[in-house]
Symmetry: C2
Subunit: 114 residues, 2 copies
């Protein structure tokens, strides 16, 4: 509190982080969500394929994240007719448009975390 009060006094109004950036990073950065989105950039995937693509993620969490990403309009769930019925997940236009951002982040990871 002291640090805050003192900096406010010194610097006046500090620049706010862009709220749209902040919303974007909190959405995409939620645990497992980025990895799921990244797996889907290659094309539609079934549930089990996503489980394999992201090691360590439980089925329960994958279901939950897919529902959240559907609600946010990033992922689309398609039920293919036939027996057995098949369900696949793909990126919407909004989700696919994340590709440059995810690509840059992957490039950074390969430069600095490899």
């Amino acid at each position: 509190m002291t640090a805050e009060a003192s900096a406010q006094g010194e610097s006046g109004a500090a620049e706010r982080v862009c709220p749209h950036f902040h919303a974007a990073i909190e959405l995409v950065g939620k645990r497992w969500s980025g990895a799921i989105l990244s797996a889907l950039t290659e094309g539609p995937r079934r549930f089990g394929e996503l489980t394999q693509a992201v090691p360590g993620m439980s089925d329960r969490l994958l279901s939950q994240r897919l529902r959240e990403l559907e609600e946010e309009g990033l992922v689309e769930r398609t039920v293919e007719a036939g027996a057995p019925v098949r369900v696949s997940y793909s990126l919407t236009e909004k989700g696919a448009d994340l590709s440059p951002a995810l690509g840059e982040l992957g490039a950074w990871g390969r430069r600095w975390l490899a």
Copy 2:
């Protein structure tokens, strides 16, 4: 479990998400971390300035995140001599190199979440 077993049988080995991408998104996407990094892309900031830049984040969490980002080598803490002693935070080369990724994510946020 059924879905998983069935997809494994159908598709064989699914492509794994790049582990460096995954590590990057889990690092940068951790709650508040992206916003703190984004605030620092404008230049060095004091603790109180960061508090103001990211509304809703407690001092306790900001301290914790700054320590984590220091440990990961993304943020540098500088103590400026003088009375009172002043502490500022800035991006390291590794942290600054996130700028294209954060920029793309912000652009996406402004396109789709604004």
